[in-house]
């Protein structure tokens, strides 16, 4: 963008240097996050890939992190912006703990804080290029919400980011129901992640599932899904049209 925006903060117009500091496009990105509420809390799944454009460059990125005692944050989009958000939240949780007064930030508070941050950055034309999923449990109540890079924010029983919205949500709309057991929840998430693995080119076959309940957060060890490639149509794909690829 070459036009300058008059911003009322003392200087009337941003200088060229300040302009180059604003986010224009993402570089290293994570793909979908899928999350559902279940009987004891929230389950969230993500793969461990960090793409550099069309290259699947990094294969050990943890895109889900525990926040405080009651929340779990998953992010897709620019990984460095996710790390920046984790630093903001670190400070928030630290200050909350320093009060040491029996009050603590719950998932709703963290979600709203993030909404404010994302929306404010969007208003300055310098977004944090992420779609965030915030899940948690506090005082027996499960919470699951999402914030996008432009500050759109809402709660639901099941959420997904990026491709997950198109591939996973339809499955969840059909098959999610209240009070899923842990096993059923994991099976459902794996079903969604498998579809994403087949159809999303930025997905890799190394995923983690995180669980948050009243007791706390656990993030599983990375594992991979079984896939099936022996469909007849894949065996000799150009049989019907020699020379195509």
């Amino acid at each position: 963008m070459t036009f300058t925006i008059p911003i009322d903060n003392g200087d009337s117009v941003k200088t060229a240097e300040a302009d180059s500091q604003r986010t224009l496009y993402p570089y290293v990105t994570g793909t979908s996050i899928v999350a559902i509420k279940y009987k004891d809390g929230v389950l969230m799944a993500s793969d461990m890939g960090g793409s550099y454009g069309s290259t699947l460059r990094y294969k050990n990125i943890e895109r889900m992190k525990a926040i405080g005692k009651h929340s779990l944050l998953g992010a897709s989009g620019e990984i460095s912006d996710f790390q920046e958000i984790l630093r903001y939240l670190d400070e928030l949780v630290l200050n909350d703990n320093m009060w040491d007064d029996g009050n603590s930030l719950g998932p709703k508070e963290v979600h709203n804080y993030l909404t404010r941050v994302m929306y404010n950055r969007r208003n300055k034309f310098n977004p944090l290029w992420n779609t965030l999923v915030l899940g948690g449990v506090k005082n027996g109540e499960s919470y699951l919400g999402m914030v996008s890079m432009i500050g759109v924010s809402f709660e639901d029983n099941h959420v997904a980011t990026g491709f997950g919205n198109h591939l996973a949500r339809p499955i969840l709309r059909d098959e999610w129901h209240a009070d899923l057991s842990f096993e059923d929840g994991v099976k459902l998430l794996e079903k969604c992640m498998r579809v994403l693995l087949y159809r999303d080119r930025s997905a890799i076959n190394k995923l983690q599932i995180a669980k948050i309940t009243e007791e706390g957060v656990t993030v599983s060890q990375p594992y991979s899904l079984k896939t099936f490639w022996e469909f007849k149509a894949f065996n000799n794909p150009t049989a019907g049209a020699e020379g195509s690829w």
């Binding site: 007064d101 009050n103 709703k108 404010r116």
Partner: protein, 275 residues
């Protein structure tokens, strides 16, 4: 306390380690008309005496809603109290906006105390001349705090500040152990009885006091005159006394046959800048 050479500004210590300006500010609190607060596990009641400057004027507002779950009663320089209430409202609403969650009262009083402390350590400022009884809820239940001009704050089961508050405090000291498990109604009754103590013989009528309640599941609100009068009626002997009260000018029905020492304004030595 008498005038001395160390009391000119707030940033001068006395040789005995006192800041006299801060102590003088606390005197201003004692001159204000009484404010009382008490709490149970789930509710907080704030009550105050309505004192008008003269027969012609209305009484000053001394209890403020800070948020649905926090209220404050003040004694001392009402102007200072108003400014601090506005600060508290601002803190509460900013927190609500960012976190969509009510600001825990315990954190608000710390902000308030830190703000008061600043005024005790700047040579170009003066301490706030108002004491605040802050009642509110947080995750651990109902709380009552007292913030004073020195920047200190204390948590109480029940407390009274302002003129003749000692009488109320004595009453509260006798009864506070039962407040934790009190019902909402009993708590209100105790608050009004404590107010009565500060009136020292003057007839207790609903027009003389303001009472506010907040609690778990009950947002902060004032009790109307009728409700207060009903509570008064349960313990005052009802005698049909149509005589208009000197200094009040309204003819509220139930008035106990008590001596009215010097009409409504018993303390003529009230400083002009307060109530």
């Amino acid at each position: 306390m008498f005038r001395n050479q160390y009391d000119t500004d707030v940033t001068t210590w006395s040789p005995t380690g006192r800041l006299f300006q801060v102590e003088y500010a606390m005197e201003a609190v004692k001159q204000g008309s009484a404010a009382i607060g008490l709490r149970s596990r789930s509710h907080v009641v704030l009550a105050c005496v309505n004192k008008a400057q003269s027969e012609l004027s209305s009484h000053q507002k001394k209890i403020f809603k800070v948020d649905d779950h926090i209220g404050v009663a003040i004694a001392g320089l009402t102007a200072d109290g108003r400014v601090l209430s506005r600060y508290m409202r601002s803190e509460a609403i900013n927190h609500s906006f960012t976190y969509e969650s009510p600001l825990p009262v315990g954190r608000l009083v710390v902000h308030l105390a830190d703000k008061a402390q600043v005024c005790t350590q700047r040579s170009w400022k003066r301490p706030y001349g108002v004491g605040l009884l802050v009642g509110g809820l947080d995750e651990s239940g109902a709380h009552l705090y007292y913030n004073c001009p020195s920047g200190n704050y204390f948590e109480y089961q029940a407390f009274a500040i302002g003129s003749r508050s000692q009488a109320a405090k004595t009453y509260l000291e006798r009864r506070f152990e039962s407040f934790g498990d009190s019902s909402r109604e009993d708590l209100i009754k105790d608050a009004i009885l404590a107010v009565r103590e500060t009136l020292q013989g003057e007839t207790l009528k609903s027009s003389l006091c303001t009472v506010s309640v907040l609690g778990v599941g009950e947002p902060f609100h004032f009790l109307d005159q009728e409700t207060i009068q009903k509570v008064i009626d349960t313990f005052e002997k009802v005698a049909e006394d149509e005589e208009g009260e000197a200094g009040e000018g309204d003819a509220e029905a139930a008035a106990a046959p008590a001596e009215q020492g010097g009409g409504g304004a018993g303390d003529q030595d009230v400083a002009p800048m307060e109530m």
